[in-house]
Amino acid sequence: MSPGEIAQLVVNGLVAGTVLAVPAIGFTAIYAVLRFPNFTVASHATIGAFAGYVVNTMLGWSAGAAVVVAFLVAGAAGVVNDHVVLRPLRPAGALTTAIGAVALTIVLENVIRFIFGNDLRGYDLPIRRDWRWGPLRIGPQQVENLVIAVVAMTAVFVFLASTRTGKAMRAVADDPTLANLKGIDPERVARLTNFGAMGLAGVGGMLLGLDTSIDPLTGFRVILSVFAAAVVGGLGSIPGAVVGALTIGVAEELSLVSLAPAYRSAVGFVAILLVLTLRPRGLLGERAY
């Protein structure tokens, strides 16, 4: 492959990675605060994508407004789902909750399928030609996705660093018992974390679909890459999720040099294996597992 083609892959990878970072942050945040891998990130990504689709195609809202709706709807769904389904399972342990999350993700995915059917759907947005610089081409939609993802991530960082609630979340993630002693209500923090994390998953799902199309399997297709991003960066670490996502995004694209496009998800799988075998804490993780 020529250097120009490789550069194109890196560009695609950085864009894909930035979009991947959004749900990865959500996943890792839930792991940090609630201590179990929440597979329902997949179905909430799909919920967000379809929520945005509905307001975009039926109400004619712009992509930006639809993304906000995706966040709110997925976030609300996340809170309800956790409260009704997953919270009662938590006393039985992380593994049972994780399995419950897999079952729940199948339920939610099929609710979407029930309402919308299996067909691929596209957002009602103008189809614009890619921009070109020399051998590189990048789509205007890709750039928009990049911007939205960066804005979302910045908001998360600011929230966690400066607001009181954000600091409370970090405290619970760090040491729940101590946080409780200090008067922080773990249930409230759990609710907020679910809202934010699943909202981010919903935004991620929509961003994935903006450039291409969506169907009930949208979230499921990326779940392995989301795990990989979170694990590579260090489960529980939000900056880690960002670094992990960029790494996975670029790695998946570069794999095209020698592998067929179908094997992209396999890259995520191999990455998880490598990290868990060689450096279980991930790149930025502080906890030893």
């Binding site: 299996n118 691929l120 103008p126 189809i127 030609r129 679909g209 450039d211 949208t218």
Partner: protein, 403 residues
């Protein structure tokens, strides 16, 4: 001490299951002679979902006409319909049910080549007759012992005509983008073999998994080969994404696809400038035949898709074969008699009702269908077919030529 009868939970559950299963057996009606059960297995959903419902309606139409005229030798036709979801896996389960539970004489209308390939062994092993609209060469080459016929031109025929068309359009560098199907490789190979005869060549080919939402890398690969014509050898959902991505990538060369992929539904789902210029090839039904005209009137459409026409012919052929076999309603009987009513020196008929009448009078018939003459080779292929080429202009398909 008497032994305790311990009714375990397990026993209760198995007992309940047995009772429930028994309750699912339908009661028999003793009033009339037993109906002839025919199964329809069409893509009501999935990639072929644009055609399945209308294919089924075409078969319901013929069944209705036959039943109104007294049925086949006094027996009414009962259609049992299932959705193959354009998925081999779902189709196999549905076919199992049609064969084992409903005990149909024939399964009609399978559309996707992968579906037909999966269902065929179940049919020939249970001696159920299978009629299909799938085109892949590999299908009639299966060891089906005669239990399979198809009314669609096979890949060999289709690609032959496509090559003629591309040569006539002066395409020099053709890139083939195929979805994974049984006909992907045969199409590629045949095109590679035929194009050089007209000064063209296949400059590259990619086979992709059609269940993805984006094909960016496949498009990149295609464009690197600098083609002047891209053959989109897939189905509607993936071709929709491919056309959009080709547009975004700024590709200005030619595009050609099959009519079952680039159809009105696809054109309606995108702005005209994205689809403009795409050629589409479809087998042409026998638009002049009375059968076609009657079907068009019933379905309320002036321009019928080839599959509904073929399904109209499927059920007509099966019904006529059963009648010719003196009412023996089995897959084996249909296999042995279908060519006696589909081709040969008999009186030409274009409707099943008319054919049944003549058969009752002891005459031989030759059924000419709405999709074409319906004459089959020994392995179940049709002999020849006209292919219609159209081009997308302003969101509509415009006729270009017939080959």
């Amino acid at each position: 001490m008497t032994a305790q009868t311990h009714i375990s939970r397990r026993m209760v559950l198995t007992g309940a299951a047995a009772v429930a299963a028994a309750g699912l057996v339908p009661p028999r009606t003793w009033a009339q002679p037993a109906p002839i059960k025919l199964g329809t297995l069409t893509p009501l959903t999935g990639a072929g979902g644009s055609y399945g419902p209308s294919m089924r309606r075409a078969m319901e139409y013929v069944a209705g006409e036959i039943n109104a005229a007294g049925g086949v030798l006094g027996r009414q036709i009962q259609l049992v319909s299932e959705d193959d979801q354009t998925s081999p896996e779902a189709a196999v389960r549905a076919a199992r049910k049609l064969i084992d539970v409903d005990r149909v004489v024939a399964i009609m209308g399978t559309w996707a080549s992968a579906v037909t390939t999966a269902v065929a062994p179940l049919c020939w092993e249970s001696k159920t007759f299978l009629t299909t609209v799938s085109g892949s060469d590999t299908i009639t080459q299966l060891p089906h012992q005669g239990y399979l016929i198809r009314t669609q031109p096979n890949t060999h025929l289709q690609i032959g005509k496509l090559a003629d068309f591309l040569i006539s359009m002066k395409a020099r560098r053709v890139f083939v983008l195929s979805a994974q199907t049984p006909f992907a490789l045969p199409s590629q190979r045949r095109l590679t073999e035929l194009l050089p005869k007209g000064g063209g060549e296949v400059v590259g080919a990619v086979i992709y998994d059609k269940d993805k939402a984006t094909f960016r890398s496949e498009i990149d690969q295609a464009l690197r080969a600098k083609p002047d014509m891209i053959y989109l050898n897939g189905y509607t959902p993936d071709c929709t994404v491919l056309l959009k991505e080709l547009y975004k990538a700024g590709y200005t060369g030619g595009k050609v696809s099959q009519g079952y992929a680039v159809n009105q539904k696809l054109l309606d789902s995108m702005p005209a400038e994205v689809s403009d210029g795409t050629y589409a090839a479809s087998p042409s039904p026998a638009v002049e035949s009375a059968g076609y005209k009657r079907l068009a009137k019933f379905l309320g459409a002036s321009d019928l898709d080839p599959y509904s026409c073929q399904c109209h012919d499927h059920i007509s052929l099966v019904a006529l074969a059963i009648a010719r076999a003196k009412g023996e309603a089995t897959g084996t009987a249909v296999r042995d008699t279908v060519r006696k009513i589909s081709q040969g020196p008999g009186v030409k008929v274009d409707s099943a009702v008319e054919g049944l009448k003549l058969l009752a009078q002891g005459k031989e018939i030759n059924f000419e269908g709405a999709s074409g003459p319906c004459d089959f080779t020994d392995i179940g292929d049709i002999l020849d077919c006209q292919i219609k080429f159209e081009q997308a202009k302003g969101g509509k398909l415009v006729f270009v030529k017939m080959i």
